[in-house]
């Protein structure tokens, strides 16, 4: 029999795992959720009598939008008010200009989220201490009264800037998500603002220093024109960086492109999309990039005409005024100032990539043109992520792979010719002008009044308040997704710091466990909304309400609208009485049709057609920077020199050359295998975006987690050294905290590195060790130098077999 597996290692870990699992079940028997019937038990959806027609309807809609990076089309079967089946896009054609938007495992398994017994059903008020997880059911009237009292109280006592609506991407359909809450607060005098994100803080800030824009990407249909594609830390098959990005790479390969994946992990993209996988030590990408530049420069493979016409700061012939004698990009690469030529041999010791391989990749990238160097975002969620972004862009610049079909400028990569709108729900203007870097919200709780421009505050010289009230909508950032959970939990537990926390969600998430008041939101299937293509994509989805919100759940918009009555601003908040459907209509007819997609059908037609999506086919993909390349004088970039800045004077003027060099440099990370911390914590830990979930969404989905359980992935060499066998439970820890999870020994990760997929739900045991496997037990709250971004993949840890 095939799957009796004589081929497996002697100690079949299937059996081992089963024993370990049973043991583990006993340990973890006391669930934090308890057996409280407010949350558990059989989920009985609400069936209005008029819905019991017995007929099956098929409704086409956008896949519930979280922050996965894709936007796909679902065909949802509905019978008697219940979703009975979920299929995907079956539009005929499937041409590359308008390919089917096929949903992945997360969308196809949605019924297990939609009808999960743990769905929040009623408003809940905390009973015990904050964070303990004790709640009692209250009415909506009581909940609104509490919200009114707390918000008014904090405004009166401290002012609006003491109120914070955190970053959150759990719901993304305009009417569902955080934007209605922002709109309401803006009508009440505003709340503390933020900028940047947890996804791409470093590239968001660093890319414009090079290009003066974030729209550095060609439209994806152009990828088939490329001859060589480097997927650097980029894993579109798993994280979806745009629906069909993986499929477009397949098409490019069929068209003759060679593909290389550079990643510490043999990711799903490395397996399915790459001709070669090159493992690299995490956090050393800029070293390999610099060594590639060394090969390209010394072997005279640079595009000298492009450099001369379009770049600034490449060598001493093109340094910006006032910096004529400073170190140019070429100076750094050749080591003419620091005495360290950035040779492949130099990089080999840092990156663990053989020097011959580095040289080979450099030559191929510079000669098999047009070529794409596509940077994923994981490598910029690191201590010096800004440098990696700029080093990659520099390679594109010196080889002239910019502004041409089949090339790619690197950087953030929003598409030229029209980036998506993300959310267009009119939140209004925030009367509070101060904005914090989003990653620093815990700082703003403990010492907001001390924070100023040095901490990245924008819109004001300093903050006039600490955060005193948090209203967290569709977000698990409070505990689960922010760095250093033990620290965050301690801050949130102190009721003298944040005086009131409201969490609005579908489930009692780890963040909701720290709420004083929990408000039950409905899912996107249960209200009207609009989605557009994530980073890429020429799509707009209409997401109709296809089943009723169960129990006492309401849309995020409805909750805010009801609350607006308490404050006497209902008329303004609802713009004269708009419901969710009216907003969806307004968004399509007044925003999309009047700006980006004038040719798309009106809301009423879209609704009637049951198409679910409007797509503008891309037959002639837009190429970023093509005008600039052809005529840089006429179409200068929005940088100080109007050129691609390999040397940045604004960065030079910051006068922090060790952390923010004016040319992109490899900087050893603050936690690294080369530092003394490696003695105690010798392994690097990364937390990749995992197939079964979108960040922390779907962690409780039994179908997706059956297919992809939470695991610690580890190389056999590291496991053998610790006497860890496949399927053992392991403890992973550093000075900040510890977690326990099952270990998967794999040859698909390089020695010295472990992977703990991010987004697992924090579930502390009595000893404070997380049994959910959440990597943020180990991550640091320290922020990056330039972007003030999250460095959540820069961590050193130790691992041992867990015997309890």
């Amino acid at each position: 029999m095939l799957f009796s597996f004589k081929t497996r290692p002697k100690n079949s870990f299937f059996r081992t795992n089963r024993r370990a699992f049973l043991k583990w079940s006993a340990v973890a028997g006391t669930s934090l959720l308890g057996e409280n019937n407010l949350f558990s038990g059989v989920f009985k959806p609400y069936f209005p009598e008029e819905n019991k027609t017995g007929e099956e309807k098929i409704i086409r809609t956008g896949c519930p939008a979280h922050n996965c990076g894709g936007r796909c089309l679902l065909k949802v079967h509905v019978k008697d008010g219940l979703i009975t089946r979920i299929e995907t896009d079956d539009r005929p054609g499937d041409d590359i200009s308008d390919p089917q938007l096929r949903a992945c495992i997360r969308g196809r398994a949605y019924r297990k989220r939609q009808y999960h017994p743990g769905r929040l059903k009623y408003p809940l008020l905390r009973t015990g201490k904050r964070g303990e997880g004790g709640f009692k059911r209250i009415s909506w009237d009581e909940a609104y009264e509490i919200m009114y009292r707390e918000i008014s109280g904090v405004i009166k006592k401290y002012g609006n800037s003491a109120i914070f609506i955190p970053y959150g991407t759990g719901s993304y359909t305009n009417t569902n998500g955080r934007w209605p809450a922002v709109r309401l607060m803006n009508l009440l005098g505003g709340s503390l603002g933020y900028y940047n994100s947890y996804s791409w803080a470093c590239t968001n800030i660093a890319t414009p220093y090079v290009y003066g824009t974030l729209n550095t990407g060609n439209q994806r249909q152009d990828w088939v024109n490329s001859k060589y594609i480097i997927m650097w830390g980029w894993n579109p098959a798993e994280m979806k960086d745009g629906t069909n990005s993986d499929y477009f790479i397949r098409k490019a390969r069929e068209n003759g492109a060679k593909t290389v994946c550079i990643d510490p992990r043999q990711s799903m993209s490395a397996v399915a999309l790459a001709d070669e996988w090159i493992p690299i030590r995490p956090g050393t990408d800029a070293a390999m990039m610099s060594a590639m530049a060394y090969v390209i420069i010394t072997e005279k493979l640079t595009d000298n005409d492009f450099i001369k016409r379009c770049c600034s700061g490449y060598d001493d012939s093109q340094m910006p005024a006032g910096c004529e004698n400073e170190e140019s990009y070429k100076d750094y690469i050749l080591g003419s100032r620091d005495g360290v030529p950035k040779t492949p041999e130099w990089a080999e010791r840092i990156t663990a990539v053989p020097s011959t391989v580095i040289a080979c990749i450099a030559r191929e990238y510079a000669t098999r043109k047009p070529a794409i160097l596509y940077q994923g975002y994981g490598m910029q969620r690191r201590a010096f992520g800004e440098q990696t972004v700029r080093a990659g862009a520099a390679l594109a610049a010196i080889t002239g792979n910019i502004g041409i079909p089949g090339g790619w400028a690197s950087g953030l990569g929003s598409q030229a010719g029209g980036e998506p709108f993300w959310s267009v729900f009119p939140a209004g203007e925030n009367p509070v002008k101060a904005r914090i870097p989003v990653f620093l919200w815990t700082e703003a709780i403990i010492r907001g009044k001390e924070m100023g421009t040095a901490e990245g505050i924008k819109g004001a010289d300093k903050l006039d308040n600490n955060i005193k009230l948090i209203w967290c909508v569709a977000s698990n950032i409070l505990i689960n997704q922010h760095s250093n959970i033990n620290r965050t939990a301690e801050i949130l537990r102190d009721e003298s710091l944040v005086e009131f926390i409201a969490v609005q969600d579908n489930f009692l998430t780890p963040s909701a466990m720290f709420a004083d008041l929990v408000l039950p939101a409905c899912t996107q299937f249960e209200t009207w909304g609009v989605e557009d293509g994530w980073k890429f994509g020429e799509e707009v989805f209409l997401t109709p309400k296809i089943v009723d919100p169960p129990f006492e759940t309401k849309s995020d918009y409805r909750i805010c609208a009801d609350l607006s009555r308490k404050f006497g601003v209902w008329e303004q908040f609802t713009a004269g009485g708009k419901d969710e459907k009216a907003w969806a209509e307004w968004i399509i007819d007044e925003i999309y049709r009047k700006t980006r997609f004038p040719e798309m059908p009106a809301f009423s037609e879209l609704e009637k057609s049951n198409a679910g999506v409007y797509v503008k086919p891309v037959k002639d993909p837009v190429i970023a920077f093509s005008d600039f390349r052809n005529n840089p004088e006429k179409y200068p970039l929005k940088t100080p020199t109007g050129r691609i800045e390999l040397f940045s004077k604004p960065l030079f003027d910051m006068n922090r050359p060790d952390e923010i060099p004016a040319v992109p440099k490899y900087v050893q990370e603050w936690e690294s295998p080369f530092g003394k911390e490696a003695g105690k914590y010798p392994l690097q830990a990364i937390g990749h975006h995992y197939m079964p979930r979108v960040h922390s969404t779907h962690f409780n989905n039994e179908w997706t987690t059956e297919a992809f359980p939470q695991l610690v992935f580890m190389n056999k060499a590291d496991a053998d050294a610790r006497k860890i066998r496949n399927g053992d439970f392991v403890k992973v820890w550093n000075d900040r905290g510890a977690l326990v999870a099952k270990c998967r020994i794999t040859s698909g990760i390089m020695p010295g590195v472990i992977d703990i997929p991010q987004g697992a739900w924090y579930k502390p045991g009595k000893d404070g060790i997380d049994t959910g496997g959440n990597i943020n037990m180990l991550t640091t709250e320290r922020w990056t130098a330039l972007a003030k971004g999250n460095p959540q993949h820069t961590i050193m840890v130790q691992v041992e077999k867990y015997n309890n």
């Binding site: 398994a109 053989p354 997706t704 040859s747 698909g748």
Partner: protein, 204 residues
């Protein structure tokens, strides 16, 4: 009687398991019962010399459900004739007759029949008979984000894709004449039996 067949393009399969979930959703399969399964085959040794890695491992995925064999072992093994080939040429189970003895699961070299502990009967992929008789593709095939799966009659599939390769860890195809065509991944020749891990969902 048509001879239906699946085509599996392992060379572009990312192992995302969307096919498996699409199948579960259509067929209401509870946790633990997977009519379609994506197997991960991986292994290979790392060599480290002076801090540099010079030897690389292999990895690929194979998605399998029922191969709708021409000479199905499961049918032969069934003591009650519950497992049979129906009028559309599909190997199916008559649940009136099935006693849940699991002989079919033991006989099938691909592990296609799956026991349902609640219903106490065997269950298996029926090629989405309700869809294919309407001219639609089976749910798994229509789901694949990489377009790595296809379905048709065996003649259609072999005409389009050739006869494929018998990829590790599939058994010798001679015994039951499976109607499946696999386009192998570039790594498929690398694994040897001593060194390959093959995982299904059981590492749960």
């Amino acid at each position: 009687m048509p001879e239906y067949a699946f085509f599996i393009n392992s060379s572009v399969c990312s192992g995302c398991k969307t096919c498996q979930i699409a199948c579960k959703d259509k067929n209401e399969l509870s946790k633990g019962i997977n009519w379609r399964r994506v197997y991960e085959i991986e292994g290979g040794n790392w060599k480290e010399e002076n801090g540099v890695f010079t030897s690389l491992p292999f990895s690929y995925f194979i998605s399998l459900s029922c191969q709708n064999c021409a000479n199905p072992e499961c049918v032969k093994a069934c003591p009650t004739t519950a497992m049979h080939v129906n009028a559309n040429g599909i190997v199916v189970i008559d649940h009136e007759l099935c006693i849940g003895c699991k002989y079919c699961a033991w006989a099938c070299p691909y592990g296609a029949p799956r026991y349902d502990p609640l219903k106490k009967v065997m269950t298996k992929c029926n090629l989405c008979e309700d869809y294919i008789t309407k001219g639609l593709k089976p749910s798994c095939v229509a789901s694949c984000p990489m377009r790595a799966l296809d379905f048709g009659t065996y003649n259609e599939i072999t005409a389009k894709y050739g006869s494929g390769e018998n990829v590790f860890p599939l058994p010798d195809p001679g015994t039951c004449e499976p109607r499946i065509v696999i386009k192998p991944h570039k790594d498929y020749l690398k694994p040897c039996k001593e060194h390959a891990y093959v995982t299904e969902n059981e590492y749960n």
